[in-house]
């Protein structure tokens, strides 16, 4: 079976005024219809790896790869238009915090409908019917009510379910979930994970599950990649976690990711807003 996704020597560099930040430095892996976990501490390049696959790297960053192949499509050599057609339709992404990743001035229902309409010529009432059904399949009990709510009117758990509904409605083959439960209350984290688990299994999707929590990732995924400072330091089967060799992985395993080497990696850069200085 050929791989769903092949990544070879992926690099992402940010050229900033103060110099170049190498966020991702030569990442390679393959993914079938399986669950791959990416772990690593904050700033290790997990999100940028995911976003490079999505084609959502910020404009001031430079992405290079020897190979970036999705289902036989060469992503390094594809028009922006074709890339966009893939997004949301065949490759989707769930972001971390629904408080920020849902448009605050648009109802949840409309945001899901918009997601369908981006890829299909479909009537409004048909689209909203499907959106309601999708809300139901992420186990929202009162979909008609939630459909009309604005993001600030729902809880984090509910918002993340809506996010999952929005991203899975087009039935993608690959889902990148970037810390999908990190921003949620511990009590609802499990609910959301269970829903995600069920949908991924039912639909036979490939999954890249990004998290800083090694134990969570290993219980959820088949295989785990450990990243540190933009590189993969170790790849192992989730079941063989205890045989991890790399000291960094062992550190993560000991649930002490912030001790030892942790203070060496490049710090995340500040979000500057020069426009306010005008």
């Amino acid at each position: 079976m050929s791989a769903l996704l092949t990544v070879e020597d992926l690099r992402v560099a940010f050229h900033t005024r103060t110099g170049t930040v190498d966020a991702v430095r030569g990442v390679s892996f393959e993914l079938g219809r399986e669950r791959l976990g990416i772990v690593g501490e904050s700033g290790s390049g997990k999100s940028q790896t995911g976003r490079a696959i999505m084609g959502l790297t910020p404009p001031h960053a430079e992405v290079t790869a020897r190979k970036l192949d999705f289902d036989g499509i060469d992503l390094t050599n594809i028009s922006a238009r074709a890339r966009r057609d893939l997004r949301g339709d065949r490759i989707a992404m769930i972001l971390q915090d629904p408080k920020y990743s849902l448009d605050p001035v648009m109802t949840i229902g409309r945001q899901i409908v918009e997601s369908i309409q981006a890829h299909e010529k479909i009537g409004k009432s048909e689209a909203s019917k499907r959106a309601l059904a999708m809300l139901e399949s992420v186990q929202i009990r009162d979909p008609a009510r939630v459909y009309d709510l604005y993001p600030h009117e729902v809880s984090g758990g509910m918002g993340q379910r809506a996010m999952i509904a929005m991203m899975l409605i087009a039935n993608p083959q690959l889902l990148i979930a970037d810390e999908p439960t990190s921003a949620l209350d511990v009590t609802v984290q499990l609910d959301v994970l269970r829903i995600l688990d069920q949908l991924v299994t039912e639909r036979g999707m490939g999954l890249i599950f990004i998290s800083h929590d090694l134990r969570l990732v290993s219980s959820f995924c088949d295989r785990v990649i450990v990243m540190y400072a933009g590189r993969i330091v170790e790849q192992l089967k989730a079941s063989e976690l205890n045989q991890a060799q790399h000291p960094y992985t062992r550190g993560l395993l000991d649930c002490m990711p912030r001790l030892g080497a942790a203070d060496r990696h490049p710090l995340p850069t500040l979000d500057r807003k020069p426009e306010w200085a005008l």
Binding site: Y100, P104, K273
Partner: protein
Amino acid sequence: MANTADRVSTRGRRRSGASSLAWSILSFLVVAAITFLGLITVTFFIGRVIPIDPVLAIVGDRAPASVVAAARKQYGFDLPLWDQYLLYLTKALKGDFGNSVLSTYPVMDDIRRVLPATLELATVGTIIGLLLGIPLGVLAAVKRDSLIDQIVRVIGLVGYSVPIFWLGLMGLLVFYARLGWVEGPGRIGVAYEYSFTPITGLFLVDAILQGDWDVFRDVFRHIILPGALLGYFSMAYISRMTRSFMLNELSQEYIVAARAKGLSETRVIWGHALRNAAVPLVTVIALSYATLLEGSVLTETVFAWPGIGSYLYNSLQNADMNAVLGGTIVIGALFIALNLLSDLLYRVLDPRTRT
């Protein structure tokens, strides 16, 4: 707007949202009323402390003492200050500011005549500023540091540093005197001035209502130069603020999510980012409109525009106190209304303010 089609269920929740909106309107109206009362009070005391005898201003300083005394009684200036204040207040609330010494007409009639001229000009300016400023600001933010971004920067710089009367005179010199593309001073040509009967006082609107296209063309040729001038300043401000709001919105996570759904850039930018930027933009637009009203004295002088700016200026020059105070109160009320409107729009545009 597009949301309404989707609001099929949850009537109950909407109703509670509507009642909270009604509540906030009510509380704002109370604030507006208090502000308005304060405005009237301040103008009353200004009218009393300045060293102009209001009675003499009415009857003239050569009137015989008996006439002066009669007038003093007639206008209530012999009453205690408190009663005078109450009288002033009740009259002001009815829109009665007395007669203008200069025009001899009731001040309110004068204002009814001159205010639409100012409003029409400021509105044309704001519309021009909006139609150009928003797209320019959006493009500048989207194509940051590109040529268009530089152009927006230069437009803003010129808007800041070039005085409006100088630009106005230059405009008149080039487009009126040299090229003859537009009409000169005033709102309407002498050929139409006496045959044309305004309805609303907004001449462009009146000409359309009456289907009089000759008048429309003439009025348009009069208003376009001062309108474009004000529009330029409005555009400079609006485009700069649009750019900065858009840059902020475009860096948000929901924009990444919108792109991850596979939306077109057009939809991401105009449907999501600008829709969010519209919330703070409302205040900016209201502010820009208020600035154009405020700046009307200069523009109206340069273009001999018979608006409230030049009316107030003339009244002040001639110590026509009723006109000055009445005009001030009306402009103040206008600002309060503008504030109320922008606050309401803000609530309509941002669902987070409704619950």
